[in-house]
């Protein structure tokens, strides 16, 4: 694997290889010294054209834990504000001979284009509303730790599917790992033709009880002014996941940042069935694994204790 541009490009085996690698980094994370020398002397560029807390911080920390030199560029305050094109920015940063470029961009296909302009490995950290593969991998990782396997698991992805790259990457990843996926939201926020990606479509929460996992998406406030929903109040009344709608055996996930009281009730966020904090923790080890697979994966030497014994046993399975 030269680049990580999409979940679409990954086979189930490739996804599992990355997750297995992440498990071994989780073991490293429990040591006092959490750093490994794998990428010593190599450079990772992180190039973010959109604001991000979780993704950018966890990629940055992942690069540092692997001992890489990190150059972190945010569009705000950089030459991008002076009108430099993406192509020229990439050419400039490529002059540092980076081993990897991690890019977040507001438009679909940006990471793929960058891959054509540089010899570095390119990691798509979110391209427009298209894909967010590292998010999907960390979500599958989180669920696999909890459930052991996604085979036959029913997952509902609820909310603004139209504007969500997470929804796209996750429904592909979940389906590829054997889960049955339903996307749910108001018809205005479900893209026409989405079912051809291999999911069911529901315009109401009726039937949610069949799901073992409920994955809520962020509902942005500006969607109201564009007439996608009449009001956040009406949206919440019909689609908010709260403890009344969520049954105690269901697991709850969300990519963050959460609008408390909109797509999720505060109670649901803080409930024991919420995996949100585990998702964030998984972000670090999965992103370490991604960088490792791309930059050192072919070299064979494992960074840490590996093997069957290091695989955590599933904590619980749904009834």
């Amino acid at each position: 694997m030269k680049h990580l541009l999409s979940i679409e490009q990954l086979s189930r085996e490739e996804i599992e290889a990355i997750l297995d690698r992440a498990e071994s980094f989780a073991e490293v994370g429990r040591r006092d010294i959490k750093k490994v020398p794998t990428l010593r002397g190599r450079t990772v560029v992180s190039l973010f054209y959109e604001s991000s807390t979780r993704t950018s911080s966890s990629f940055d920390l992942a690069a540092k834990r692997l001992s890489a030199d990190l150059v972190s560029v945010k569009a705000a305050g950089s030459s991008v504000e002076k009108g430099e094109s993406l192509k020229d920015t990439v050419a400039t940063l490529s002059a540092y001979d980076p081993a990897a470029i991690v890019i977040r961009h507001p438009y679909a296909g940006a990471a793929q284009m960058v891959a054509g302009w540089t010899t570095a490995a390119v990691v798509n950290a979110g391209d427009g509303k298209h894909e967010h593969p590292s998010q999907a991998l960390l979500d599958v990782y989180t669920l696999r730790r909890r459930l052991g396997s996604l085979d036959g698991i029913r997952i509902w992805i609820v909310g603004d599917v139209l504007h969500s790259r997470v929804a796209r990457s996750n429904l592909i990843a979940f389906a590829r790992m054997g889960a049955e996926v339903t996307v749910c939201g108001p018809p205005t926020l479900i893209p026409r033709g989405i079912e051809e990606l291999g999911c069911e479509v529901s315009y109401s929460l009726e039937g949610l009880e069949e799901a073992e996992v409920v994955y809520a998406l962020r509902m942005q406030k500006e969607r109201m002014s564009e007439s996608f929903v009449p009001s956040l109040r009406e949206y919440a009344a019909n689609f908010q996941i709260d403890t009344r709608r969520l049954n105690p055996r269901q697991l709850l996930m969300h990519p963050g940042p959460v609008n408390r009281g909109v797509e999720l009730s505060g109670e649901a966020i803080d409930s024991p069935q919420s995996l949100i904090a585990e998702q964030v923790a998984a972000g670090l080890v999965v992103r370490m694994a991604i960088l490792y697979e791309l930059l050192a994966g072919g070299e064979g030497t494992a960074p840490a204790a590996e093997g069957e014994g290091s695989r955590p046993t599933p904590i619980g399975t749904p009834a």
Binding site: E8, S85, L86, K87, H105, Y107, A108, G109, A110, Q112, M113, D127, G128, K129, H130, E131, S164, R165, R168, P191, R192, G193, I194, E196, L197
Partner: protein, 449 residues
């Protein structure tokens, strides 16, 4: 009236050519046989029996096995002049047209500033007389500065030589303005060419709305954004007994509406573009903005089939390239940010021959007829090979294989939707309004003593 009378071209010498033993195909004139085609004095002087033409003083082209067609006419080209000459100008754009076998083109008015005044038309006509390889006509905008609000001075624009009117690039959103333009057409004449799009339905869109856009997370341009406007405008044209030309149809529903409108007697003509006839939105999965981002967007297979059916039954009378040159910096950006448009003049015939004629989807005669069907909707004479006609000839080698772009382009821009494709069929010589407008460099001519 001949193209040379109504359009503008750089003056030059009339060709004196004999295309010896060419296979002559002009379906409208009912010609399909081998002849010596004699071009002299600006006309098709004769279609002589093979090998029997008087070659005295003529340049003789050994054309055995080659095809002579009426040269093509494209009613929809962006010459980008004035304002964007770094993308294309009158000289490069008409050179590209000549290389594609065209003997005439119409240039759109969405330049910077838009072509909205008689002085704009006069200046462009002067440029064409100085530098155009093939006759070119200019459309003026329907509304002032293409703002969609007030009509341009359409009578004066016609007197200055505007061939017709179009706000192409933008729809005329206001139905009231559209209606006034159609009423006023009874005074000023000139067809009105319409880019049909409801901007409220395409907002934020960059490709056809369907499974491919859902998978890519790219904003969709639904088919109904076109068909609803087509429905509105054929209704208005019918009511006002006015004439409209619908540009670059892309959606199956639009074709159905036009077919019904024609049957009801509405004076409507329509065009389809080679890329919409050859490609679908599946190509957009590559997110390659150079080749696959245009407006209207590539649609689904059922839409493509509907366009082909429209070509067959005459609902769509002509093929138009919507040749839209852009420079690399406008295309070397993520798909959604890239400019809309692809070039098409140099490849239209070869692409359609390769994709539709060779697989047997349509026959050669239909393609040839539709390639020059864009003249009549604008009151221009259809190019013809009947003796006595103005000499407009495309000599083609239907067996020649070539790779698009390997020798560069005549156009100033390289955003061809065919870039890198291998095509079969190539234009060797174009005669436009009696002059040799193009010769393929690698095709050597035999000259008789």
């Amino acid at each position: 009236m001949s193209l040379a009378d109504l359009l503008d071209v750089r003056p030059g010498e009339d060709a004196h050519l004999v295309l010896r033993r060419a296979t002559v195909l002009d379906p409208v004139a009912g010609i399909d046989s081998v002849h010596d085609v004699v071009v002299r004095g600006g006309e098709i002087a004769a279609l002589a029996s093979p090998g029997e033409a008087d070659t005295d003083g003529a340049e003789v082209v050994e054309a055995e096995g080659l095809h002579a067609f009426p040269a093509f006419f494209d009613p929809h080209v962006h010459l980008r002049t004035p304002g964007h000459e770094h993308k294309e100008d009158v000289e490069t754009g008409t050179r590209a047209a000549a290389a594609g076998g065209y003997c005439g083109i119409l240039a759109m008015a969405n330049t910077e500033p838009p072509v909205s005044t008689p002085a704009d038309i006069a200046a462009l006509r002067e440029q064409a007389r100085a530098s155009a390889s093939v006759p070119v006509g200019f459309l003026a905008t329907v509304t002032k500065a293409m703002q969609g609000g007030e009509l341009t001075e359409m009578v004066e624009l016609r007197e200055a030589g505007a061939v017709g009117f179009s706000d192409d690039g933008l729809p005329i959103a206001d139905a009231g303005v559209m209606r006034r333009a159609l009423q006023y057409q009874h005074l000023c004449g000139g067809n009105i060419a319409l880019h049909e799009e409801d901007a409220r339905l395409t907002q934020g869109g960059a490709m056809h709305e369907g499974p491919a856009s859902a998978a890519l997370g790219v904003g969709g341009i639904p088919s109904v954004s076109e068909s609803t406007m087509v429905g509105r405008d054929v209704a208005l044209a019918g009511y006002e007994q006015a004439r409209i030309h619908l540009q670059h149809l892309s959606a199956a529903e639009s074709v159905g509406i036009v077919r019904a409108a024609k049957a009801a007697g509405v004076r409507v003509s329509a065009e389809a573009s080679p890329h919409h006839l050859c490609l679908t939105d599946e190509a957009v999965r590559s997110l390659d903005p150079h080749r696959f981002k245009m407006n209207p967007p590539l649609r689904e297979e059922r839409d493509r089939q509907a366009l082909i059916d429209g070509l067959r039954d005459g609902t769509i009378e002509c093929i138009a390239t919507d040749h839209a040159p852009h420079q690399p910096e406008e295309k070397d950006v993520p798909f959604e940010q890239a400019a809309f448009g692809v070039t098409g003049l140099e490849t239209a015939f070869a692409a359609l021959h390769t994709e539709l004629v060779l697989p047997g989807v349509i026959d050669l005669a239909l393609l040839v007829e539709r390639m020059s069907g864009g003249a009549e909707p604008f009151d221009l004479q259809r190019p013809s090979l009947a003796p006595g006609s103005e000499a407009n000839v495309a000599l083609c080698d239907l067996g020649a294989e070539w790779t698009v772009g390997e020798d560069g382009y005549e156009s100033r821009s390289a955003n061809s939707w065919c870039a890198g494709r291998s095509l079969t069929g190539r234009v060797l010589i174009t005669v436009a309004a009696g002059q040799v407008a193009f010769r393929l460099r690698s095709f050597s001519l035999g000259v008789a003593a």
